[in-house]
Symmetry: C2
Subunit: 499 residues, 2 copies
């Protein structure tokens, strides 16, 4: 084979894979934005076929040979192509071990599960979802065995979302968090509590939508390529770097739910929009990992938007849009209300201190589910017990408990820890960023361009060119260190609660 | 080959074709409902690849052999499978003659054209669209040559949308219409004119949306499988018979635009929703032809909804939703306003009498464009001249003139005549239906079930099991006869205008 021809075949293969990805992601996006409620059968039919076609296209011997040939000529290839081969060889090895009929059955199962989960959640009845979740857990364990037979199943799954993450590294990470955050939470709870009732003042949804547009402007989300929709659970999807969709959910009595979700998803969207053009239609044209992705969304949401300078900047806009709510509120009050700590039932509404504890619950549960020491039937009870233990809250029903998140219905076991990792990465990025630019000076003016430019240069533009651990060293000058996160939280909340 | 195996291969092939269809139609649907404005490049990339994969899957020798083998065993097959083979052999013969690279280039061109057309329309500047349209015309002529080299190009294209339609048959059809409708229009214009200003009363869009839901209820559009969206130009798309989307467009000062578009698209949707289950995922699981499809949408829109009994039934609902507008309007006035005839610039807003003349203009122009006797550069001038000649209206700009419809940007040369044919089919269906059921008695009560049941039994459930001409005979007991249409129009409008 001629090297140039082989490289062309490699690019064509990736472009095709990308087209299937686009189609399948859009089918998912449509299912939660525009599709009528009982359309999952036809969607499952199509998803099954497209995933099978995609699997066949990639997980075959010729592709294996092509990749092996190219890998043996790595020295003659440009850096990007060499890196593509690295990633593709890994995926190829994993996927080739999954029989196509199982891969397709799994795709169909997940399509069905999404619908079942929503029904169960609406009815607040875990039993509706339980049989489906049992199948997903069994399938996930099986897939883990195909992906990395030498690893423990949950380690194999973790590696899907954060390369290099293991139960060992995460146990250590979470035990550090637990050791610091549970005492911190106790001290906060012992301190005088902050009245945050101003957050619940009724805010007309039409005005909230105007605020969304304003926030997207502040974040410089280019509306030629980025749009916002509405879904039950906010998320971001990119079909390519020039076609990114974020979603949010509006609640009349919870303006800040939508406000922070827009900024969070906007952070994901900026990452995709800022990926280098030359990575488009390749396997590198997306975020480096789930945790790095979450580090970006949570950076904008928590570090930037939940800061005193940003809220001081935003307040006049809030007064303009909701004059009856904020006329008598000053920036200090708004900031204290926004960052006030309240152990609660719901992950996505949680404050920065309790958030990692919500994740800890999920991490421990899915580790045991996939490890086989917890049955799906016992999951709700264990969920409720851990919420009591770590957060001190009683779970009144499955809807606000074990059914609150879609992730497990999507087969995403191993994803949750990336939220906590991402938060921790973000704090380390902040420390490095502050050495280069005046983060708070710019933020106080509502100018997020310097922050975004820094993140673009250090992280966004590289896509998946580097592994997460390397990217962190490249961006911050040192390996990942959770101390930055712990210090960030302690310092911020000690000041707020005058501890 | 074993017959049973071959049949299974045939079903699998169709299911795969359907999955690609679903993905590509959804990409189109998304592009006009939710996509950010400048996302056509990435979409074109994906559409190009998917259409290529779909082409390769179908237009190859093995499929040709499979079909030939099955065709030679037709006597041993059930009726549905035999009919599938008939349709697929025809498509296979046509598509196999189109080189895959041209097919893909055409898909990409159409994706680009949609965007260009919208820009040109918004700027009211045909020049923006002209180069693109020139390419589409050239491509369409080329495709016509591949499809049916023995036919004149426009005949080959007409046959795509209405099997058996030719310039000869359509020239005859339209000359009959012209001979009857232009004098009828003159008599109407000479009669005392109807004041229809009540149609323009401002109607809050939120209330219009409530009316949409009400109309969908009246039509028994099952919301588990049918949803409504908003687009510039209303349309219907089905991903399968259990996933149908209609769209509409709301104008504050034109309630009836949205009202009739919902009923029109609802008619298309009912056709799809009522197709027999066993035709799902096969090439027969859609409407028999474009004209038959239009016959259904226009039946509900014009024959049912633009009738005195229906409007009398609807008036209380209009009074409830828009009390300030209809408190002093009686049903007779509403009916006369709704059916009032006004030569105008815009096809989709046209009354029943001038509508076929709008189609006639398009038919004559596209016949000449594809025939080669009209250049794209001369199209706007000819458009304006014919509007003056047939409708007596002066076209002030391209936006309201030659750029008003998306069809040519979609490469749909030969589609427009199906609107007029569909209207004519509908009148013949009405005559047959009235022999079986009390159409107006039920309509007066807002009960459209008997009408829909009749259409489902005679037309909807059959999908593409029969050719349009056969379906008409089957449904009405006689071949298509445009006299029903002409009589329907003459009778209805003679009564309204007391001619």
């Amino acid at each position: 084979m001629e090297l140039q021809t082989a490289v062309e075949q490699l690019k064509t293969l990736q472009a095709k894979m990308h087209a299937y990805y686009h189609a399948m992601e859009l089918i998912f996006y449509d299912s939660v934005t525009a599709a009528p409620p009982e359309t999952d059968v036809g969607r499952g039919h199509t998803m099954g076929i497209l995933s099978e076609e995609r699997h066949k296209l990639f997980a075959n011997e010729q592709v294996g040979e092509l990749l092996a040939y190219l890998a043996s000529h790595k020295g003659e290839l440009d850096k990007q192509t060499a890196r593509e081969i690295e990633e593709l060889q890994r995926d190829h090895a994993m996927l080739s071990r999954v029989p196509v009929e199982e891969y397709v059955a799994y795709t169909r199962l997940l399509n069905e599960a999404d619908n079942k989960w929503l029904k169960a959640k609406n009815a607040s009845d875990f039993a509706i979802f339980q049989p489906c979740l049992e199948k997903i857990v069994a399938f996930s364990r099986k897939l883990a065995g195909y992906y990395a037979p030498e690893k423990k199943p949950y380690d194999a799954l973790l590696d899907q979302y954060e390369r290099g993450a293991t139960m060992e590294s995460l146990d250590q990470f979470f035990s550090q968090l637990k050791a610091e955050l549970i005492p911190l939470l106790e001290r906060i709870e012992a301190a005088p509590q902050i009245d945050n009732s101003l957050l619940q003042r009724p805010s007309p949804i039409e005005r909230q939508k105007q605020l969304t547009q304003y926030l997207m402007d502040i974040m410089s989300l280019d509306r030629r390529y980025a749009a916002v929709g509405e879904t039950e659970h906010p998320f971001t999807v990119e079909f390519n770097k020039y076609d990114v969709r974020i979603t949010t959910h509006y609640y009349e009595d919870n303006l800040f739910s939508s406000l922070f979700s827009v900024i969070h998803e906007g952070g994901h969207a900026l990452y995709e929009l800022n990926t280098a053009d030359e990575l488009m239609y390749t396997c590198l044209g997306e975020g480096a990992s789930s945790a790095i992705h979450e580090s970006q969304s949570r950076f904008y949401e928590n570090i930037i938007a939940r800061s005193e300078p940003f809220l001081r900047f935003l307040l006049p806009k809030l007064c303009e849009l909701f004059p009856e709510n904020y006329a008598n509120v000053d920036a200090e009050n708004l900031y204290r209300a926004v960052v006030s700590v309240r152990p609660s039932l719901t992950r996505i509404e949680a404050d920065e201190i309790t958030y990692p504890l919500h994740i800890l619950v999920r991490y421990e549960l899915e580790k045991r589910l996939i490890g086989g020491s917890l049955s799906v039937a016992d999951l709700p009870g264990e969920w409720n017990r851990l919420y009591q233990e770590y957060l001190g809250v009683e779970v009144p029903d499955d809807r606000r408990g074990v059914l609150q998140d879609v992730h497990w219905a999507g087969g995403s076991f191993g994803y949750f820890p990336t939220y906590a990792l991402g938060s921790a990465y973000g704090a380390q990025f902040l420390a490095a960023m502050q050495r280069d630019i005046d983060v708070w000076g710019a933020t106080a003016k509502g100018d997020l361009q310097p922050v975004t430019a820094w993140l673009k240069e250090k992280i966004h533009r590289h896509g998946r060119m580097q592994l997460p651990a390397d990217l962190i060293v490249h961006a911050t000058g040192e390996p990942f260190d959770p101390r930055y996160y712990i210090e960030y939280l302690k310092e911020k909340y000690a000041a707020v609660y005058q501890l």
